[in-house]
Protein backbone atom coordinates (compact mmCIF):
# COMPACT_ATOMS: atom_id res chain seq x y z
CA UNK A 1 0.00 0.00 0.00
CA UNK A 2 2.79 2.42 0.91
CA UNK A 3 4.19 3.63 -2.37
CA UNK A 4 7.73 4.63 -1.52
CA UNK A 5 8.34 5.96 -5.00
CA UNK A 6 5.30 8.19 -4.96
CA UNK A 7 6.34 9.71 -1.64
CA UNK A 8 9.84 10.21 -2.90
CA UNK A 9 8.41 12.14 -5.84
CA UNK A 10 6.17 14.14 -3.49
CA UNK A 11 9.01 15.01 -1.09
CA UNK A 12 11.11 16.02 -4.04
CA UNK A 13 8.45 18.40 -5.31
CA UNK A 14 7.64 19.78 -1.85
CA UNK A 15 11.22 20.42 -0.87
CA UNK A 16 11.97 22.19 -4.12
CA UNK A 17 8.98 24.50 -3.93
CA UNK A 18 9.59 25.89 -0.47
CA UNK A 19 7.63 29.11 -0.65
CA UNK A 20 4.52 27.37 -1.89
CA UNK A 21 4.86 24.72 0.80
CA UNK A 22 5.45 27.34 3.47
CA UNK A 23 2.40 29.39 2.50
CA UNK A 24 0.13 26.37 2.52
CA UNK A 25 1.54 25.27 5.85
CA UNK A 26 1.23 28.70 7.42
CA UNK A 27 -2.55 28.93 7.12
CA UNK A 28 -3.05 25.57 8.76
CA UNK A 29 -0.46 26.20 11.43
CA UNK A 30 -1.98 29.54 12.34
CA UNK A 31 -5.55 28.26 12.46
CA UNK A 32 -4.71 25.42 14.82
CA UNK A 33 -2.32 27.47 16.88
CA UNK A 34 -4.81 30.26 17.53
CA UNK A 35 -7.63 27.90 18.37
CA UNK A 36 -5.65 25.83 20.85
CA UNK A 37 -3.94 28.77 22.55
CA UNK A 38 -7.22 30.63 22.87
CA UNK A 39 -8.95 27.59 24.29
CA UNK A 40 -6.12 27.14 26.75
CA UNK A 41 -6.17 30.77 27.84
CA UNK A 42 -9.96 30.72 28.17
CA UNK A 43 -9.94 27.64 30.35
CA UNK A 44 -7.07 29.02 32.41
CA UNK A 45 -9.05 32.15 33.10
CA UNK A 46 -12.14 30.15 33.94
CA UNK A 47 -10.27 27.83 36.29
CA UNK A 48 -8.54 30.79 37.87
CA UNK A 49 -11.74 32.66 38.65
CA UNK A 50 -13.46 29.51 39.86
CA UNK A 51 -10.50 28.78 42.11
CA UNK A 52 -10.91 32.17 43.72
CA UNK A 53 -14.11 30.81 45.18
CA UNK A 54 -12.01 27.94 46.37
CA UNK A 55 -13.86 25.48 48.54
CA UNK A 56 -16.50 28.07 49.33
CA UNK A 57 -19.84 26.44 49.32
CA UNK A 58 -21.62 27.83 46.27
CA UNK A 59 -24.88 27.90 48.21
CA UNK A 60 -23.57 30.01 51.08
CA UNK A 61 -24.88 33.37 52.27
CA UNK A 62 -23.51 35.92 54.68
CA UNK A 63 -25.55 37.98 57.12
CA UNK A 64 -24.42 40.94 59.22
CA UNK A 65 -25.89 44.03 60.83
CA UNK A 66 -25.18 47.73 60.71
CA UNK A 67 -26.79 51.04 61.56
CA UNK A 68 -30.38 51.67 60.49
CA UNK A 69 -31.18 54.60 58.23
CA UNK A 70 -34.95 54.87 58.74
CA UNK A 71 -37.01 55.49 61.90
CA UNK A 72 -39.50 52.69 62.54
CA UNK A 73 -41.89 51.53 65.21
CA UNK A 74 -41.02 54.45 67.45
CA UNK A 75 -37.29 53.93 67.13
CA UNK A 76 -34.94 56.44 65.63
CA UNK A 77 -32.65 56.01 62.63
CA UNK A 78 -28.95 55.42 63.21
CA UNK A 79 -29.50 52.70 65.76
CA UNK A 80 -27.12 49.75 65.76
CA UNK A 81 -28.66 46.28 65.68
CA UNK A 82 -26.89 43.32 67.25
CA UNK A 83 -27.32 39.69 66.20
CA UNK A 84 -27.61 37.36 69.17
CA UNK A 85 -27.71 33.65 69.91
CA UNK A 86 -31.49 33.97 70.06
CA UNK A 87 -31.58 35.30 66.52
CA UNK A 88 -29.60 32.29 65.37
CA UNK A 89 -32.03 29.95 67.14
CA UNK A 90 -35.00 31.76 65.66
CA UNK A 91 -33.54 31.47 62.16
CA UNK A 92 -32.74 27.80 62.68
CA UNK A 93 -36.34 27.22 63.69
CA UNK A 94 -37.93 29.33 61.03
CA UNK A 95 -35.82 28.03 58.14
CA UNK A 96 -35.48 24.47 59.38
CA UNK A 97 -36.79 23.18 56.06
CA UNK A 98 -34.06 24.78 53.95
CA UNK A 99 -31.13 25.51 56.23
CA UNK A 100 -28.11 23.24 55.79
CA UNK A 101 -25.31 24.57 58.02
CA UNK A 102 -25.13 27.66 60.19
CA UNK A 103 -21.91 29.14 61.51
CA UNK A 104 -21.95 32.38 63.51
CA UNK A 105 -18.70 34.20 64.16
CA UNK A 106 -17.43 36.75 66.67
CA UNK A 107 -14.06 38.45 66.24
CA UNK A 108 -11.76 38.88 69.18
CA UNK A 109 -10.25 42.34 68.75
CA UNK A 110 -6.81 42.08 67.21
CA UNK A 111 -4.24 41.42 69.87
CA UNK A 112 -0.78 40.12 70.22
CA UNK A 113 -0.50 36.38 70.29
CA UNK A 114 2.64 34.87 71.76
CA UNK A 115 4.40 31.55 71.96
CA UNK A 116 7.43 31.48 74.22
CA UNK A 117 9.43 34.54 73.21
CA UNK A 118 7.74 34.96 69.80
CA UNK A 119 4.82 37.29 69.33
CA UNK A 120 2.75 38.67 66.52
CA UNK A 121 -0.65 40.28 65.96
CA UNK A 122 -3.04 37.74 64.46
CA UNK A 123 -6.72 37.82 63.70
CA UNK A 124 -8.58 35.76 66.29
CA UNK A 125 -12.05 34.48 65.41
CA UNK A 126 -14.70 32.76 67.46
CA UNK A 127 -16.24 30.09 65.25
CA UNK A 128 -18.39 26.98 65.35
CA UNK A 129 -17.59 23.42 64.19
CA UNK A 130 -19.72 23.99 61.08
CA UNK A 131 -17.30 26.54 59.66
CA UNK A 132 -15.26 23.72 58.18
CA UNK A 133 -18.28 22.64 56.14
CA UNK A 134 -18.92 26.08 54.74
CA UNK A 135 -15.75 28.06 54.51
CA UNK A 136 -12.79 27.50 52.24
CA UNK A 137 -10.46 26.04 54.83
CA UNK A 138 -9.20 22.49 55.14
CA UNK A 139 -7.93 20.69 58.20
CA UNK A 140 -4.21 20.09 57.92
CA UNK A 141 -3.33 18.57 61.30
CA UNK A 142 -5.13 17.66 64.49
CA UNK A 143 -8.83 18.46 64.69
CA UNK A 144 -11.15 21.40 64.32
CA UNK A 145 -13.32 22.96 67.04
CA UNK A 146 -15.99 20.49 68.21
CA UNK A 147 -19.27 20.71 70.06
CA UNK A 148 -17.67 19.79 73.38
CA UNK A 149 -15.31 22.76 73.04
CA UNK A 150 -18.36 24.91 72.46
CA UNK A 151 -20.35 23.55 75.36
CA UNK A 152 -17.48 23.79 77.85
CA UNK A 153 -16.08 27.06 76.50
CA UNK A 154 -12.73 25.36 76.32
CA UNK A 155 -9.59 27.38 75.86
CA UNK A 156 -8.53 25.61 72.72
CA UNK A 157 -7.52 27.05 69.32
CA UNK A 158 -7.03 25.90 65.78
CA UNK A 159 -4.32 27.88 64.01
CA UNK A 160 -3.67 28.78 60.41
CA UNK A 161 -0.68 27.39 58.48
CA UNK A 162 1.29 30.63 58.64
CA UNK A 163 0.82 30.89 62.39
CA UNK A 164 1.99 27.32 62.80
CA UNK A 165 5.03 27.95 60.63
CA UNK A 166 5.93 31.13 62.47
CA UNK A 167 5.60 29.69 65.97
CA UNK A 168 6.51 26.04 65.54
CA UNK A 169 8.37 25.81 62.27
CA UNK A 170 12.06 25.13 61.85
CA UNK A 171 14.30 28.19 61.96
CA UNK A 172 17.96 29.07 62.45
CA UNK A 173 17.95 28.43 66.15
CA UNK A 174 15.34 25.74 66.69
CA UNK A 175 14.05 22.51 65.26
CA UNK A 176 10.41 22.23 64.18
CA UNK A 177 7.90 21.45 66.96
CA UNK A 178 4.60 19.62 66.63
CA UNK A 179 2.07 22.43 67.20
CA UNK A 180 -0.60 20.07 68.52
CA UNK A 181 -0.53 20.08 72.31
CA UNK A 182 1.43 23.32 72.61
CA UNK A 183 0.06 26.36 74.42
CA UNK A 184 -0.08 29.85 72.95
CA UNK A 185 -0.99 33.01 74.82
CA UNK A 186 -3.80 35.31 73.72
CA UNK A 187 -4.34 38.38 75.87
CA UNK A 188 -2.19 36.72 78.48
CA UNK A 189 -4.28 33.55 78.65
CA UNK A 190 -3.01 30.11 77.59
CA UNK A 191 -4.82 28.26 74.83
CA UNK A 192 -4.17 24.67 73.80
CA UNK A 193 -3.48 24.20 70.09
CA UNK A 194 -5.61 21.30 68.83
CA UNK A 195 -5.38 21.70 65.08
CA UNK A 196 -3.88 23.41 62.05
CA UNK A 197 -5.89 24.51 59.02
CA UNK A 198 -4.89 25.50 55.51
CA UNK A 199 -6.79 27.90 53.30
CA UNK A 200 -8.36 26.62 50.11
CA UNK A 201 -8.45 30.10 48.65
CA UNK A 202 -5.70 31.85 46.70
CA UNK A 203 -3.55 34.93 46.92
CA UNK A 204 -4.23 37.45 49.69
CA UNK A 205 -7.38 35.65 50.81
CA UNK A 206 -5.33 32.55 51.51
CA UNK A 207 -2.76 34.54 53.46
CA UNK A 208 -5.53 36.07 55.54
CA UNK A 209 -6.99 32.64 56.40
CA UNK A 210 -3.59 31.15 57.14
CA UNK A 211 -2.74 34.00 59.49
CA UNK A 212 -5.89 33.51 61.58
CA UNK A 213 -6.56 31.74 64.83
CA UNK A 214 -9.90 30.00 65.43
CA UNK A 215 -11.37 29.45 68.90
CA UNK A 216 -14.84 28.22 69.95
CA UNK A 217 -17.50 30.91 69.52
CA UNK A 218 -18.60 30.47 73.09
CA UNK A 219 -15.06 30.98 74.35
CA UNK A 220 -14.75 34.12 72.23
CA UNK A 221 -18.02 35.44 73.65
CA UNK A 222 -16.73 34.86 77.14
CA UNK A 223 -13.27 36.39 76.77
CA UNK A 224 -14.66 39.46 74.99
CA UNK A 225 -17.40 39.69 77.54
CA UNK A 226 -20.04 39.73 74.82
CA UNK A 227 -22.20 36.89 76.05
CA UNK A 228 -24.80 35.71 73.57
CA UNK A 229 -23.64 38.15 70.93
CA UNK A 230 -22.71 37.38 67.33
CA UNK A 231 -20.63 39.47 64.92
CA UNK A 232 -22.08 37.99 61.75
CA UNK A 233 -22.91 34.58 60.42
CA UNK A 234 -22.57 32.47 57.36
CA UNK A 235 -24.98 29.69 56.50
CA UNK A 236 -25.64 27.33 53.62
CA UNK A 237 -29.01 26.56 52.09
CA UNK A 238 -30.17 23.22 50.67
CA UNK A 239 -29.07 23.17 47.06
CA UNK A 240 -32.59 22.63 45.72
CA UNK A 241 -33.77 25.88 47.34
CA UNK A 242 -32.97 29.28 45.84
CA UNK A 243 -30.46 31.06 48.05
CA UNK A 244 -32.01 34.40 47.17
CA UNK A 245 -35.35 33.31 48.64
CA UNK A 246 -33.79 32.08 51.85
CA UNK A 247 -31.85 35.33 52.02
CA UNK A 248 -35.09 37.32 51.91
CA UNK A 249 -36.70 35.16 54.55
CA UNK A 250 -33.78 35.61 56.92
CA UNK A 251 -33.62 39.33 56.26
CA UNK A 252 -37.33 39.79 56.92
CA UNK A 253 -37.16 37.73 60.07
CA UNK A 254 -34.17 39.64 61.46
CA UNK A 255 -35.70 43.01 60.59
CA UNK A 256 -38.86 42.06 62.37
CA UNK A 257 -37.01 40.81 65.44
CA UNK A 258 -34.91 43.98 65.61
CA UNK A 259 -37.66 46.39 64.62
CA UNK A 260 -35.94 47.62 61.48
CA UNK A 261 -38.08 49.30 58.81
CA UNK A 262 -38.85 46.67 56.14
CA UNK A 263 -37.79 49.15 53.44
CA UNK A 264 -34.56 50.14 55.16
CA UNK A 265 -31.66 49.27 52.85
CA UNK A 266 -29.42 49.01 55.89
CA UNK A 267 -29.77 47.64 59.37
CA UNK A 268 -29.45 44.05 58.19
CA UNK A 269 -27.03 43.24 55.41
CA UNK A 270 -26.77 40.06 53.41
CA UNK A 271 -24.77 38.74 50.53
CA UNK A 272 -24.55 35.38 48.77
CA UNK A 273 -22.12 33.63 46.52
CA UNK A 274 -24.82 32.44 44.16
CA UNK A 275 -25.34 35.90 42.75
CA UNK A 276 -21.64 36.52 42.35
CA UNK A 277 -21.29 33.12 40.76
CA UNK A 278 -24.09 33.87 38.35
CA UNK A 279 -22.38 37.09 37.31
CA UNK A 280 -19.11 35.28 36.81
CA UNK A 281 -20.79 32.52 34.86
CA UNK A 282 -22.21 35.21 32.62
CA UNK A 283 -18.69 36.52 32.17
CA UNK A 284 -17.52 33.01 31.30
CA UNK A 285 -20.20 32.69 28.66
CA UNK A 286 -18.94 35.92 27.17
CA UNK A 287 -15.37 34.68 27.25
CA UNK A 288 -16.10 31.30 25.76
CA UNK A 289 -18.18 32.98 23.07
CA UNK A 290 -15.18 35.16 22.28
CA UNK A 291 -12.85 32.15 22.29
CA UNK A 292 -15.09 30.28 19.90
CA UNK A 293 -15.67 33.31 17.75
CA UNK A 294 -11.99 34.09 17.33
CA UNK A 295 -11.04 30.41 17.21
CA UNK A 296 -13.52 29.53 14.49
CA UNK A 297 -12.57 32.75 12.73
CA UNK A 298 -8.91 31.79 12.60
CA UNK A 299 -9.84 28.25 11.60
CA UNK A 300 -11.93 29.61 8.77
CA UNK A 301 -9.11 31.93 7.87
CA UNK A 302 -6.84 28.89 7.72
CA UNK A 303 -9.26 26.92 5.56
CA UNK A 304 -9.77 29.78 3.14
CA UNK A 305 -6.02 30.31 3.05
CA UNK A 306 -5.34 26.66 2.27
CA UNK A 307 -8.07 26.61 -0.36
CA UNK A 308 -6.77 29.74 -2.03
CA UNK A 309 -3.23 28.50 -2.09
CA UNK A 310 -4.35 25.18 -3.53
CA UNK A 311 -6.09 27.09 -6.32
CA UNK A 312 -2.98 29.11 -7.04
CA UNK A 313 -0.78 26.05 -6.77
CA UNK A 314 -2.81 24.14 -9.32
CA UNK A 315 -2.83 27.08 -11.70
CA UNK A 316 0.85 27.54 -11.16
CA UNK A 317 1.41 23.91 -12.03
CA UNK A 318 -0.60 23.73 -15.26
CA UNK A 319 2.55 23.58 -17.32
CA UNK A 320 4.16 21.02 -15.03
CA UNK A 321 1.03 18.92 -15.31
CA UNK A 322 1.13 19.21 -19.10
CA UNK A 323 4.74 18.04 -19.14
CA UNK A 324 4.01 15.16 -16.82
CA UNK A 325 1.10 14.12 -19.02
CA UNK A 326 3.27 14.21 -22.13
CA UNK A 327 5.63 11.92 -20.23
CA UNK A 328 2.82 9.46 -19.67
CA UNK A 329 1.15 10.60 -16.44
CA UNK A 330 -2.50 9.55 -16.18
CA UNK A 331 -5.11 12.03 -14.87
CA UNK A 332 -5.46 9.84 -11.81
CA UNK A 333 -1.81 10.01 -10.96
CA UNK A 334 -1.91 13.81 -11.31
CA UNK A 335 -4.89 14.19 -8.96
CA UNK A 336 -3.46 11.84 -6.40
CA UNK A 337 -0.11 13.63 -6.53
CA UNK A 338 -1.67 17.04 -5.85
CA UNK A 339 -3.95 15.72 -3.12
CA UNK A 340 -1.28 13.74 -1.35
CA UNK A 341 0.97 16.75 -1.42
CA UNK A 342 -1.64 19.02 0.08
CA UNK A 343 -2.75 16.51 2.70
CA UNK A 344 0.82 15.84 3.67
CA UNK A 345 1.63 19.52 4.04
CA UNK A 346 -1.54 20.37 5.96
CA UNK A 347 -1.19 17.38 8.26
CA UNK A 348 2.41 18.14 9.07
CA UNK A 349 1.73 21.85 9.54
CA UNK A 350 -1.32 21.11 11.67
CA UNK A 351 0.65 18.67 13.78
CA UNK A 352 3.41 21.21 14.31
CA UNK A 353 0.79 23.85 15.12
CA UNK A 354 -0.74 21.50 17.67
CA UNK A 355 2.57 20.67 19.31
CA UNK A 356 3.73 24.29 19.43
CA UNK A 357 0.42 25.56 20.79
CA UNK A 358 0.31 22.84 23.43
CA UNK A 359 3.82 23.91 24.35
CA UNK A 360 2.71 27.52 24.62
CA UNK A 361 -0.26 26.62 26.80
CA UNK A 362 2.05 24.53 28.98
CA UNK A 363 4.38 27.51 29.34
CA UNK A 364 1.39 29.67 30.31
CA UNK A 365 0.54 27.09 32.94
CA UNK A 366 4.05 27.12 34.38
CA UNK A 367 4.39 30.90 34.19
CA UNK A 368 1.05 31.48 35.93
CA UNK A 369 1.70 28.80 38.55
CA UNK A 370 -0.70 29.13 41.45
CA UNK A 371 0.13 32.71 42.42
CA UNK A 372 -1.54 34.59 39.58
CA UNK A 373 -5.11 35.47 40.38
CA UNK A 374 -7.65 34.95 37.62
CA UNK A 375 -5.50 32.35 35.86
CA UNK A 376 -4.94 28.72 36.78
CA UNK A 377 -4.18 25.44 35.11
CA UNK A 378 -5.10 26.14 31.46
CA UNK A 379 -6.36 23.03 29.71
CA UNK A 380 -6.68 21.94 26.10
CA UNK A 381 -9.53 19.93 24.74
CA UNK A 382 -7.58 17.50 22.57
CA UNK A 383 -10.72 16.18 20.92
CA UNK A 384 -11.70 19.64 19.70
CA UNK A 385 -8.14 20.38 18.60
CA UNK A 386 -7.85 17.16 16.61
CA UNK A 387 -11.31 17.73 15.16
CA UNK A 388 -10.28 21.19 14.03
CA UNK A 389 -7.12 19.76 12.50
CA UNK A 390 -9.12 17.10 10.65
CA UNK A 391 -11.42 19.84 9.36
CA UNK A 392 -8.46 21.80 8.03
CA UNK A 393 -6.97 18.77 6.30
CA UNK A 394 -10.27 17.79 4.71
CA UNK A 395 -10.91 21.37 3.66
CA UNK A 396 -7.45 21.56 2.11
CA UNK A 397 -8.04 18.33 0.22
CA UNK A 398 -11.52 19.30 -0.93
CA UNK A 399 -10.56 22.76 -2.07
CA UNK A 400 -7.60 21.22 -3.88
CA UNK A 401 -9.64 18.42 -5.44
CA UNK A 402 -11.72 20.45 -7.90
CA UNK A 403 -8.86 22.43 -9.45
CA UNK A 404 -6.67 19.32 -9.39
CA UNK A 405 -9.26 17.38 -11.37
CA UNK A 406 -9.68 20.24 -13.79
CA UNK A 407 -5.94 20.48 -14.26
CA UNK A 408 -5.59 16.75 -14.71
CA UNK A 409 -8.15 16.77 -17.51
CA UNK A 410 -6.76 19.74 -19.36
CA UNK A 411 -5.65 18.90 -22.85
CA UNK A 412 -1.84 18.68 -22.64
CA UNK A 413 -1.54 20.80 -25.77
CA UNK A 414 -3.29 23.67 -24.03
CA UNK A 415 -1.27 23.15 -20.89
CA UNK A 416 2.01 23.18 -22.78
CA UNK A 417 1.16 26.18 -24.92
CA UNK A 418 3.78 28.88 -24.55
CA UNK A 419 2.40 32.06 -23.11
Amino acid sequence: MFDYDKWQEIFNTISKNKLRTFLTALGVFWGIFMLVVLMGAGSGFQNGVLAMFGGHAKNAMYVWTNRTTMPYDGLQAGRFTQITNDDIKAIENDLEDVLEYMSPRLYVPSTEVTYKNKGEAYEVRGDTPYLLKIDAIDLDQGRFINQKDMDDRRKVVVIGMEVAKNFFGKNKKEEAVDPIGQFIKIQGVDYLVVGVVASDRRGEDATEDNKSIFMPLTTAQQVTNRHGKIGWFVCTINTNYPVGLAENRIKTLLKKRHRVHPEDPRGVGTDNVEEELREIMGLFNGISFLVWFVGIGSLLFGIIGVGNIMLIVVKDRTKEIGIRKAMGATPRSIVSMILLESVFITTLAGYIGLVVSIGVVYLMKIAAGTDVQFFLNPQIDLKISLGALAMLIIAGALTGLVPAMQAANVNPVTALKDE
Binding site: D5, I323, A326, M327, G328, T330, N409, P412, L416
Partner: protein, 221 residues
Protein backbone atom coordinates in the same frame (compact mmCIF):
# COMPACT_ATOMS: atom_id res chain seq x y z
CA UNK B 1 4.41 2.36 -38.12
CA UNK B 2 2.13 5.37 -38.59
CA UNK B 3 -0.81 5.44 -40.99
CA UNK B 4 -3.13 8.42 -41.40
CA UNK B 5 -6.21 8.25 -43.60
CA UNK B 6 -8.34 11.31 -44.26
CA UNK B 7 -7.48 13.02 -40.98
CA UNK B 8 -9.49 16.18 -40.47
CA UNK B 9 -9.31 18.60 -37.60
CA UNK B 10 -11.02 21.91 -37.02
CA UNK B 11 -10.99 24.28 -34.09
CA UNK B 12 -14.47 25.44 -33.29
CA UNK B 13 -15.41 28.49 -31.35
CA UNK B 14 -18.93 29.62 -30.67
CA UNK B 15 -19.41 31.29 -34.05
CA UNK B 16 -16.51 30.20 -36.22
CA UNK B 17 -14.98 26.94 -37.24
CA UNK B 18 -11.39 26.89 -38.45
CA UNK B 19 -10.48 23.78 -40.38
CA UNK B 20 -6.77 23.27 -39.80
CA UNK B 21 -6.29 19.80 -41.34
CA UNK B 22 -8.38 19.03 -44.38
CA UNK B 23 -7.85 15.35 -44.95
CA UNK B 24 -4.31 14.13 -44.41
CA UNK B 25 -3.22 10.79 -45.83
CA UNK B 26 0.22 9.81 -44.66
CA UNK B 27 2.35 6.79 -43.99
CA UNK B 28 5.53 6.79 -41.98
CA UNK B 29 7.45 3.57 -41.74
CA UNK B 30 9.54 2.28 -38.88
CA UNK B 31 12.98 3.88 -38.94
CA UNK B 32 11.93 6.87 -41.03
CA UNK B 33 13.43 10.28 -40.32
CA UNK B 34 10.73 12.69 -41.43
CA UNK B 35 10.38 16.46 -41.33
CA UNK B 36 7.07 18.30 -41.56
CA UNK B 37 7.43 21.69 -43.18
CA UNK B 38 5.11 24.55 -43.94
CA UNK B 39 4.53 28.17 -43.21
CA UNK B 40 3.39 29.39 -39.82
CA UNK B 41 -0.22 28.49 -39.16
CA UNK B 42 -0.29 25.73 -41.75
CA UNK B 43 -1.17 23.12 -39.13
CA UNK B 44 2.21 21.46 -38.47
CA UNK B 45 1.92 21.48 -34.70
CA UNK B 46 -1.67 20.36 -34.90
CA UNK B 47 -0.66 17.36 -36.98
CA UNK B 48 2.22 16.49 -34.67
CA UNK B 49 0.02 16.76 -31.58
CA UNK B 50 -2.48 14.40 -33.15
CA UNK B 51 0.32 11.98 -33.93
CA UNK B 52 1.48 12.35 -30.31
CA UNK B 53 -2.00 11.64 -28.89
CA UNK B 54 -1.83 15.01 -27.20
CA UNK B 55 -4.79 16.20 -29.23
CA UNK B 56 -7.78 14.54 -30.89
CA UNK B 57 -8.79 14.52 -34.54
CA UNK B 58 -12.34 14.86 -35.85
CA UNK B 59 -12.62 12.32 -38.66
CA UNK B 60 -10.36 9.86 -40.39
CA UNK B 61 -8.22 7.03 -39.10
CA UNK B 62 -4.94 6.99 -37.28
CA UNK B 63 -3.22 3.69 -36.68
CA UNK B 64 -0.08 3.55 -34.57
CA UNK B 65 1.88 0.31 -34.66
CA UNK B 66 -1.19 -1.43 -36.01
CA UNK B 67 -3.59 -0.12 -33.35
CA UNK B 68 -6.39 2.28 -34.26
CA UNK B 69 -6.11 5.42 -32.15
CA UNK B 70 -9.67 6.59 -31.90
CA UNK B 71 -11.74 7.95 -29.01
CA UNK B 72 -9.08 7.18 -26.47
CA UNK B 73 -9.69 8.04 -22.86
CA UNK B 74 -7.10 10.29 -21.24
CA UNK B 75 -5.73 7.34 -19.33
CA UNK B 76 -5.39 5.18 -22.47
CA UNK B 77 -3.71 8.03 -24.31
CA UNK B 78 -1.30 8.45 -21.40
CA UNK B 79 -0.49 4.76 -21.57
CA UNK B 80 0.25 4.77 -25.32
CA UNK B 81 2.29 7.95 -25.02
CA UNK B 82 4.31 6.37 -22.28
CA UNK B 83 4.76 3.18 -24.25
CA UNK B 84 5.37 4.34 -27.84
CA UNK B 85 6.19 8.02 -27.96
CA UNK B 86 8.85 10.47 -26.92
CA UNK B 87 8.44 14.25 -27.13
CA UNK B 88 10.82 17.11 -27.75
CA UNK B 89 9.47 20.66 -27.64
CA UNK B 90 10.65 23.98 -28.95
CA UNK B 91 10.77 25.44 -25.45
CA UNK B 92 12.30 22.26 -23.96
CA UNK B 93 9.60 21.95 -21.27
CA UNK B 94 11.88 20.67 -18.54
CA UNK B 95 10.57 20.80 -14.95
CA UNK B 96 12.48 23.77 -13.52
CA UNK B 97 12.75 22.36 -9.99
CA UNK B 98 14.24 19.05 -11.07
CA UNK B 99 17.86 18.38 -11.96
CA UNK B 100 18.83 17.18 -15.43
CA UNK B 101 19.01 13.61 -14.18
CA UNK B 102 15.59 13.79 -12.47
CA UNK B 103 14.02 15.33 -15.57
CA UNK B 104 15.39 12.56 -17.74
CA UNK B 105 14.17 9.92 -15.29
CA UNK B 106 10.60 11.26 -15.16
CA UNK B 107 9.02 9.09 -17.93
CA UNK B 108 10.31 5.98 -16.19
CA UNK B 109 8.53 7.06 -13.00
CA UNK B 110 5.27 6.84 -14.91
CA UNK B 111 6.38 3.46 -16.21
CA UNK B 112 6.68 2.39 -12.56
CA UNK B 113 10.37 1.58 -12.88
CA UNK B 114 12.20 1.47 -9.52
CA UNK B 115 14.04 4.60 -8.55
CA UNK B 116 17.51 3.11 -8.59
CA UNK B 117 17.15 1.82 -12.11
CA UNK B 118 15.64 5.15 -13.17
CA UNK B 119 18.66 7.02 -11.89
CA UNK B 120 21.12 4.69 -13.56
CA UNK B 121 19.31 4.83 -16.88
CA UNK B 122 19.00 8.60 -16.68
CA UNK B 123 22.77 8.88 -16.31
CA UNK B 124 23.26 6.49 -19.19
CA UNK B 125 21.05 8.58 -21.49
CA UNK B 126 22.60 11.82 -20.33
CA UNK B 127 25.93 10.32 -21.34
CA UNK B 128 24.50 9.57 -24.77
CA UNK B 129 23.76 13.27 -25.29
CA UNK B 130 27.11 14.23 -23.80
CA UNK B 131 25.83 15.72 -20.56
CA UNK B 132 26.83 13.22 -17.92
CA UNK B 133 28.73 15.90 -16.01
CA UNK B 134 25.64 18.08 -15.92
CA UNK B 135 23.41 15.49 -14.28
CA UNK B 136 22.86 17.44 -11.08
CA UNK B 137 22.36 20.84 -12.64
CA UNK B 138 19.00 22.55 -12.79
CA UNK B 139 17.66 23.55 -16.23
CA UNK B 140 18.24 27.26 -15.60
CA UNK B 141 21.93 26.54 -15.05
CA UNK B 142 22.27 25.19 -18.60
CA UNK B 143 22.36 26.70 -22.07
CA UNK B 144 19.46 26.27 -24.50
CA UNK B 145 21.31 23.62 -26.46
CA UNK B 146 22.12 21.69 -23.31
CA UNK B 147 18.52 21.88 -22.15
CA UNK B 148 17.32 20.55 -25.48
CA UNK B 149 19.78 17.67 -25.23
CA UNK B 150 18.42 16.88 -21.78
CA UNK B 151 14.92 16.94 -23.29
CA UNK B 152 16.06 14.52 -26.00
CA UNK B 153 17.57 12.20 -23.40
CA UNK B 154 14.23 12.35 -21.59
CA UNK B 155 12.39 11.48 -24.82
CA UNK B 156 14.71 8.55 -25.42
CA UNK B 157 14.79 7.01 -21.98
CA UNK B 158 11.45 5.24 -22.26
CA UNK B 159 12.74 3.58 -25.43
CA UNK B 160 9.93 4.86 -27.62
CA UNK B 161 9.23 3.70 -31.14
CA UNK B 162 8.63 7.24 -32.35
CA UNK B 163 10.12 10.57 -31.34
CA UNK B 164 8.02 13.63 -32.06
CA UNK B 165 9.82 16.97 -32.05
CA UNK B 166 8.02 20.29 -32.56
CA UNK B 167 10.56 22.82 -33.82
CA UNK B 168 13.32 21.36 -31.63
CA UNK B 169 15.85 23.81 -33.03
CA UNK B 170 13.52 26.80 -33.12
CA UNK B 171 15.09 28.36 -30.05
CA UNK B 172 18.70 27.46 -30.86
CA UNK B 173 21.46 29.07 -32.89
CA UNK B 174 22.77 27.43 -36.07
CA UNK B 175 25.69 25.56 -34.54
CA UNK B 176 23.65 24.18 -31.65
CA UNK B 177 20.85 23.30 -34.03
CA UNK B 178 23.24 21.17 -36.04
CA UNK B 179 24.53 19.48 -32.87
CA UNK B 180 21.00 18.60 -31.91
CA UNK B 181 20.26 17.27 -35.38
CA UNK B 182 23.39 15.12 -35.16
CA UNK B 183 21.97 13.52 -32.04
CA UNK B 184 18.67 12.87 -33.81
CA UNK B 185 20.58 11.25 -36.67
CA UNK B 186 22.39 8.97 -34.23
CA UNK B 187 19.13 8.01 -32.58
CA UNK B 188 17.54 7.35 -35.96
CA UNK B 189 20.42 5.06 -36.88
CA UNK B 190 19.37 2.84 -33.99
CA UNK B 191 16.03 2.35 -35.72
CA UNK B 192 13.84 4.84 -33.89
CA UNK B 193 11.36 6.71 -36.06
CA UNK B 194 11.76 10.48 -35.83
CA UNK B 195 9.29 13.13 -36.90
CA UNK B 196 10.42 16.74 -36.75
CA UNK B 197 8.36 19.87 -37.34
CA UNK B 198 10.44 22.71 -38.72
CA UNK B 199 10.27 25.67 -41.01
CA UNK B 200 14.01 25.78 -41.67
CA UNK B 201 15.07 24.28 -44.99
CA UNK B 202 18.56 23.29 -43.82
CA UNK B 203 17.08 21.32 -40.95
CA UNK B 204 14.62 19.57 -43.26
CA UNK B 205 17.47 18.70 -45.58
CA UNK B 206 19.05 16.58 -42.86
CA UNK B 207 16.01 14.31 -42.77
CA UNK B 208 15.21 11.49 -45.17
CA UNK B 209 11.70 12.56 -46.08
CA UNK B 210 9.96 15.92 -46.15
CA UNK B 211 6.22 16.40 -45.78
CA UNK B 212 4.96 19.82 -46.77
CA UNK B 213 1.72 21.29 -45.46
CA UNK B 214 -0.14 24.14 -47.07
CA UNK B 215 -3.54 25.40 -45.92
CA UNK B 216 -4.25 22.12 -44.21
CA UNK B 217 -3.39 19.94 -47.14
CA UNK B 218 -0.34 17.93 -47.97
CA UNK B 219 1.65 19.18 -50.90
CA UNK B 220 3.31 16.41 -52.83
CA UNK B 221 6.98 16.82 -53.66
Amino acid sequence: MIHLKGIRKSYKTEFTSLEVLKGIDLSIEEGDFVSIMGSSGSGKSTLLNILGLLDEYDTGEYTLDGVLMKDLSQTQAALYRNQFLGFVFQSFNLLPFKSAKENVALPLYYKKIPRKIRQEKALEYLEKVGLKDWADHLPNQMSGGQQQRVAIARALISEPKVILADEPTGALDTQTSHDVMEIFKEVNKQGITIIIVTHEEDIAEMTNKVIRLKDGNMVTE
